[in-house]
Amino acid sequence: MVEAELWLFVLISSLSYMTPILLATIGEIITERSGIVNVGIEGILLSSAFASVATSFFSGSMLLGVLAGTLAGALLGALFGLFAVYLRADQIIAGLAINMASYGFTVLGLIAIWGHHGASPRVEGQLPYFSIGQSTVPLLTLLAILIAVLSWFFLFRTRTGLALRACGEEPRAADAMGVNTYRYRIAATTLGGTLAGLGGAFLALEIAGVFTRGMSAGMGFIALANVAFSGWNPLPAVFGAYVFGFLSAAADALQQEVGYAYLLKTLPYLGTLAITVLTARRSRAPLRLGVPYARE
């Protein structure tokens, strides 16, 4: 392949890799703006990837697969919210627990359904897309960017968004103003899980075309890095997700060109680490992020 063509291909396929990162990032931004940090999005990506592949396998419908993945994300987001909000759990620990249980549960399902320890069969079908020249861009990528814009509008231009942000900055004051902090927070974790779930479905059905053991492979944490990188704002998050997505796309394309597969696979992680180190302390987190809140 001519070099310029290769890079053009990488730049376009970065849009694919960007999509699950962006969806998980937006979900986590909404969650964290309400004062809750959910590191369980890694496990939510994984569980919803599994749910979407299993559903499309049994139903033969990619669309049902996407819906199942999204629903699985919503359920896990709500479960996490139940623990984080009403049971005042340590949020980091509860999130890690979701990750561990998701890993075990999805491998169990992989073996029970397909009798295989590594990967499911390939999914049949194709999610909707449109073409640019010889390349294609998935419709869900456009949808993800649209969701970013809508989330920005919701968070910074509506009263409900203001109330949600108040829950993350000063829950006591929010409560005194008549904002039901508990309800806002559990709604935020559920919405956050829903978006991560859509991202997980995209990861499995569009990018990979299969379910493989532990396939989220740190993507949830790359999204967490993007949350801080974008200053808890969904619009810069689009740019951030593209940058992080580019690292994965480049690693994938270069592997096929030059070999050294194992070393190239470190690129997204080292790149994310470098960006996180270089941009740390640039922006301020919501004041009460991660602090359990008990109403008087």
Binding site: A89, I93, A94, L96, N99, M100, A101, F105, Y269, L270
Partner: protein, 324 residues
């Protein structure tokens, strides 16, 4: 029994009950027999105590890797990467230096943990994100080295053999000794006191004149020391690494579960490591006997940790479910 110990025990019992309930439902749903699966899982591991000791030894250490920084309010999720680095260092250095390879593994882990601590202390880098990124980086670096440089001359998919070996009981005693050392460190030294103050309140620690940065770097280094040694012990037991990473993968993450089920106390970690080790061995038997996947263990640990993350759940149960 003190009230605190009783409460800790009730929380663990509640967590275990919830885990048994959830996994039973899951097994039913997937078409496995929950009663016999769980019976085999919880009892067969106890049949061979020496095997339990061998599996538990690295888990004690990877639990300490998480536990010490946790007591300072830091989340060392990097135990996994520290274990990879410790295993690689042990594999390499034990060829020439024998037992000193264990020390090399621990020191490399400490270097990595200390680096993560320094990034947090001086640059404000979130240690959870940085840890996960180093874990995955080292995962692929390990695969690269196993397949290119430390490769076995006859079997290209696996590494050379380790150059030093300790028996199961000796390994376990080593882990136990390090757990006791961690206990003394936490409760009988100034650094341990500073770690615990920092963990209960960063603000209080700063007011008390504690050098927060120093304690952050030190506690993460000590965590890394244990994490690296965990990986060294693990590869020593298996004898070599291979490109499936089945020997190492999950050692660090399971340590998080061990630490939390052990109520973040070094002695609790030893007990919970023995419990989990017997469950892991039981998990292999479940697979042999009934075809139920051994990843059942991960589900049980995950659900237990989820319940343990919310001690308030037990209070709520005792009050009959009234929020307050």
């Amino acid at each position: 029994m003190s009230g605190e110990a009783l409460r800790a025990l009730s929380e663990t019992a509640l967590a275990l009950a919830a885990a048994v309930f959830v996994t039973s439902l899951l097994l039913l749903l997937l078409g496995y027999d929950p009663v016999s699966s769980l019976a085999v899982m919880f009892t067969y591991g106890l049949g061979n105590v020496e095997y339990v000791a061998a599996v538990a030894a690295p888990l004690v250490l990877s639990a300490l890797a998480f536990l010490i920084p946790l007591r300072a309010g830091l989340f060392n999720i990097g135990g996994e990467g520290q274990a990879y680095l410790g295993a690689l260092s042990f594999l390499y250095f034990s060829q020439q230096f024998g037992a000193l390879g264990l020390l090399a593994g621990g020191l490399m882990g400490a270097l990595l943990g200390g680096t993560l601590g320094a990034l947090r202390a001086f640059l404000g880098v979130n240690e959870v994100i940085a840890s996960i990124m180093t874990n995955w980086t080292l995962y692929y670096v390990t695969l690269f080295l196993v397949s290119r440089h430390l490769t076995h001359p006859e079997f290209p998919h696996r590494s050379i053999d380790v150059g030093f070996f300790l028996g199961s009981w000796t390994s376990f005693l080593l882990a136990l000794a390090l757990a006791l050392l961690a206990l003394v460190l936490l409760y009988n030294t100034l650094l341990g006191y500073e770690i615990r103050v920092l963990g209960s309140s960063r603000r209080a620690a700063a007011y008390a004149g504690i050098d927060v940065r120093r304690v952050t770097v030190l506690s993460m280094s000590i965590g890394g020391l244990f994490g690296g040694t965990a990986g060294a012990l693990k590869v020593m037991y298996v004898g070599h690494l291979d490109t499936t990473m089945s020997a190492l993968f999950g050692v660090g993450f399971l340590g998080i579960g061990v630490a939390l089920i052990g109520k973040s106390h070094p002695i609790g970690a030893v007990l919970s490591a023995a419990f989990l080790a017997s469950m892991i061995i039981g998990g292999h038997w479940v697979e042999l006997r009934l075809g139920t996947p051994p990843e059942l263990t991960d589900v049980i640990v995950g659900v237990m940790v989820l319940v343990l993350s919310a001690p308030y759940a037990l209070k709520l149960l005792q009050r009959g479910g009234r929020l307050g």
